[in-house]
């Protein structure tokens, strides 16, 4: 490329300092292609290529696999395809770091359309190093659509290379190349730039490159994530979106894949060859109109991104503070979302992570000067913070200052670790530190009290360097609980109560204590406690819309199934509910945003030509959801005991927590439980409250399992699989002994 791209660096000095201590032509000269495989490109038919791409990085085998009609009917695409391929590729005992484990990336049949907002998502599926079970992660950016436009509905990566590799999907010349890494950088903000410059013909061509990469910390931890680039045409920069949860980046680096690059000739109007483009455009225009007219009065997604709710969560006692002890804090005002809008984010710029997204919530902070770490002094763009990042790296660690939050956000991204996971990990460590479970001798001198932003950042840099206590932090909360008990004599019961993980995955950033339904929304998830299945806190705690167990069970059926559907299709869940149509209040079930559900049915029909109603939509998800549950069972998980939650997700573990909501808890003891708190010690009251809340959760499990067609042990019933058309022999074989 004749002209340098400026990507994450905002000055030429910065760029020169960091981009390549090498020069691109030198790298090109060193390029060693290990395998090259040509394919015949066909136009996409109604959202499908009808084939997937298989690459074994261990022996450089590359081939295509046909997609059968049954695969489309039962698994749809996206996460469904990922699960099907992973099931077939692995055995019940495959470990995350075995060569046969795979990383599958699949965008789904609606993925890549540009006429309806939020259609650039893909799903990453793998066996997780954190949970030893099935992980899925939904991510934006250009790679998913570009993979599809190159000719494949999914990429399946298996094997383990001895040397670092770059995989190049050349959708222009229709060939796949496996290249030995000639020496690209490791951290994503630089590698994204280097690879864009390396593979693009010129600056104009940069928009046709989509990259998947990880970073230095992924190499030393179990919590590595994957960055997916998107080209920011206004800034002329590569930006990053993350497949964050569950260690996908760790698996990627364990296979010695440094990056995957997809290159296409360009994005045009109807590359998906949809059946009825006008139908999609009609609802797409309508939705864009809602964003234009209503966003400023509603969430201000275009100005604040998802972080608009930081202060809202604090107002409702839902913002995790000090390792989820509290839901609000006197200093929460210092991380009010107005500050992001007024001080940090660049406004008036198109921040969509895929073409045509009217929501444009992928906000960025330009010219951010780093104060620590290997890039200290550089001015960079920070992608975010999103809500989860602000809460995780901020309030949950007692840090109420956007400067260190943005700094940690940047480094988590470029080092390739998940901000949600890291936030919950550091918060846990800080509580252990303040309780004397660990001390300065153990942390190598780091004083990891709540609020110590400097120490938290240093811990992150240690992890990237593969040093000191950072390595321990990078193993995650579940492993640390074990270590602290075995090595430092911690009380296992206390750590079980305060360690915010379920199934081995750290909680995302909402306080679920006062919403029983959300406790289920977290701990009954297939992959672990992420809010992308169900966010029911307002419906339950504030609106009191779902008071009975049946109501909650219905909500814990409909919402997880509805939201699973986005991951099958290649859609963004934010678009569904973060702007509300003006006449939404007139709908019978306004909380489902029914007009947007109807939009999705229209888009689906417009792309595939197949009619779908709401019941059919839920059915598509139910099949895949149950498949994933049984996949977990096949691996020795997925039962009732695996849906248990740490008590802090349900109630106050410590006296100070109880006292912070004493009035509320005393009232509940009296009015709901029939226990008079008068004259009782806090410990006595806590014990009664705990018993009640734990009982309630068990009753919730019963109700939800029943609603989902599962046994009391959480195993899908054969009858139910028959009813939903998912009674595949391989599934029956797994669950038959457990009926």
């Amino acid at each position: 490329m004749s002209k340098c791209l400026y990507l994450h660096f905002t000055t030429e000095t910065n760029r020169k300092q960091y981009i390549m201590g090498h020069n691109l032509s030198e790298l090109k000269a060193k390029q060693k292609t290990l395998q090259s495989w040509s394919y015949v490109w066909h136009p996409i038919e109604k959202g499908y290529n009808n084939r997937t791409l298989y690459i074994n990085v261990g022996n450089c085998e590359i081939k295509e696999k046909p997609v059968s009609q049954q695969m489309k009917d039962k698994f749809v695409g996206g996460k469904g395809f990922g699960l099907r391929l992973l099931w077939d590729a692995t055995t019940p005992t495959t470990k995350w770091n075995d060569p046969e484990n795979e990383i599958i990336i699949s965008p789904g049949p609606l993925g890549g359309i540009t006429q309806y907002s939020g259609a650039g998502k893909s799903l990453v599926v793998t066996i997780s190093p954190q949970t030893d079970s099935i992980m899925d992660s939904n991510v934006g950016g250009f790679f998913g659509p570009f993979l599809k436009f190159s000719g494949f509905d999914a990429i399946e990566l298996q094997g383990k290379s001895e040397k670092d590799l770059i995989i190049f999907i050349d959708g222009v010349n229709h060939k796949i190349e496996i290249i030995e890494d000639p020496g690209f950088s490791v951290d994503s903000h630089i590698m994204g730039e280097e690879l864009t410059e390396y593979f693009a013909e010129d600056e104009k061509d940069a928009k046709n490159i989509g990259i998947v990469s990880s970073g230095a910390a992924a190499e030393h931890s179990l919590i590595g994530m994957l960055n997916f680039t998107f080209w920011d045409n206004k800034r002329k920069m590569v930006r990053l979106k993350q497949a964050g949860r569950g260690g996908t980046g760790t698996v990627f680096r364990n296979k010695n894949i440094k990056a995957i690059v997809a290159k296409i000739p360009g994005v045009q109007g109807n590359l998906n060859n949809v059946v009825d483009l006008e139908k999609i455009m009609t609802v797409g225009r309508d939705y864009a109109g809602e964003m234009r007219d209503l966003d400023d009065k509603q969430n201000q997604m275009k100005k604040k991104g998802t972080a608009n709710i930081v202060n809202v969560m604090s107002d409702y006692d839902l913002l995790p503070t000090h390792n989820f002890k509290y839901g609000t804090h006197k200093d929460a005002i210092k991380i009010h979302s107005d500050l992001l809008r007024d001080k940090w984010f660049t406004l008036g710029i198109n921040d969509g992570c895929w073409i045509g997204c009217a929501m444009q919530c992928a906000k960025g902070a330009d010219n951010f000067e780093l104060k620590t770490g290997p890039y200290k002094g550089s001015k960079v763009i920070v992608d975010g913070p999103e809500y989860e990042t602000a809460a995780g790296l901020g309030s949950n660690c007692g840090i109420f200052d956007y400067q260190p939050i943005l700094e940690a956000n940047f480094y988590c991204d470029t080092y390739g670790i998940c901000t949600i996971t890291w936030g919950t990990i550091v918060a846990f460590i800080m509580e252990c530190y303040e309780n004397g479970i660990i001390n300065k001798d153990i942390t190598g001198g780091l004083e990891l009290n709540f609020g110590n932003a400097e120490a938290a950042l240093e811990l992150l840099h240690q992890l990237a360097r593969g040093e000191g206590f950072g390595i321990i932090a990078g193993t995650g909360v579940r492993q640390m609980k074990k270590l602290f008990v075995e090595k430092y004599g911690a009380d296992p019961k206390f750590l079980q109560d305060i360690g915010m993980e379920n199934k081995g995955l750290e909680y995302s950033q909402y306080v679920s204590k006062e919403s029983l339904a959300q406790q289920g929304g977290y701990a009954m998830t297939n992959k672990g406690p992420q809010h992308d299945e169900a966010w029911l806190i307002f419906m339950d705690m504030v609106n009191n819309q779902i008071p009975s167990f049946d109501d909650k069970a219905n909500a814990l059926h409909w919402f997880p199934m509805f939201r699973t559907w986005f991951g099958l299709q290649g859609l963004c869940k934010i678009v569904w509910n973060d702007v509300t149509p003006a006449d939404n209040k007139l709908e019978k079930e306004p909380h489902k945003i029914p007009k947007h559900v109807r939009n999705y049915l229209a888009v689906y029909e417009g792309v595939t030509g197949n009619k779908l109603d709401e019941e059919g939509l839920i059915r598509q998800s139910e099949r895949v959801y149950n498949f994933q549950r049984i996949f977990n069972i096949r691996r020795g998980y997925g039962l009732r005991k695996h849906d248990a939650q740490p008590y802090r997700a349900a109630g106050p573990v410590t006296v100070e927590e109880y006292l912070s909501r004493e009035e509320r808890y005393d009232k509940q003891l009296k009015e709901i439980i029939g226990f008079d708190p008068q004259g009782k010690s806090v410990e006595e009251k806590m014990a009664v409250l705990r018993k009640h809340r734990e009982d309630q959760y068990e009753k919730l499990l019963d109700a939800v399992y029943e609603r989902r067609g599962w046994t009391k042990n959480g195993v899908p019933k054969i009858e139910h699989l028959k009813n939903i058309g998912m009674d595949l022999p391989e599934l029956i074989e797994v669950i038959k002994p457990l009926q």
Partner: protein, 67 residues
């Protein structure tokens, strides 16, 4: 006064409050809400003009946030 707020009994010390004042007291700051007083929709611009009285049934429905 005693009213029903989101299907729960709620007691306020004052006998005369507007919807805006109740939202203030409850710290209901979320922007995407639907308000119904005794089954009648109340528009945002009327929150500070509409009074709630003893035994009224007030629904302040918060739409989804988060995630």
């Amino acid at each position: 006064m005693k009213i029903t707020l989101n299907n729960r009994e709620e007691i306020f010390t004052s006998d005369k409050l507007t919807i805006a004042e109740i939202m203030d007291l409850k710290k209901f700051t979320f922007s995407k809400i639907i308000v119904k007083l005794n089954d009648i929709f109340i528009e945002k611009e009327d929150y500070d003009k509409t009074f709630v009285k003893e035994s009224d049934n007030l629904i302040i429905l918060h739409l989804l946030a988060g995630g």
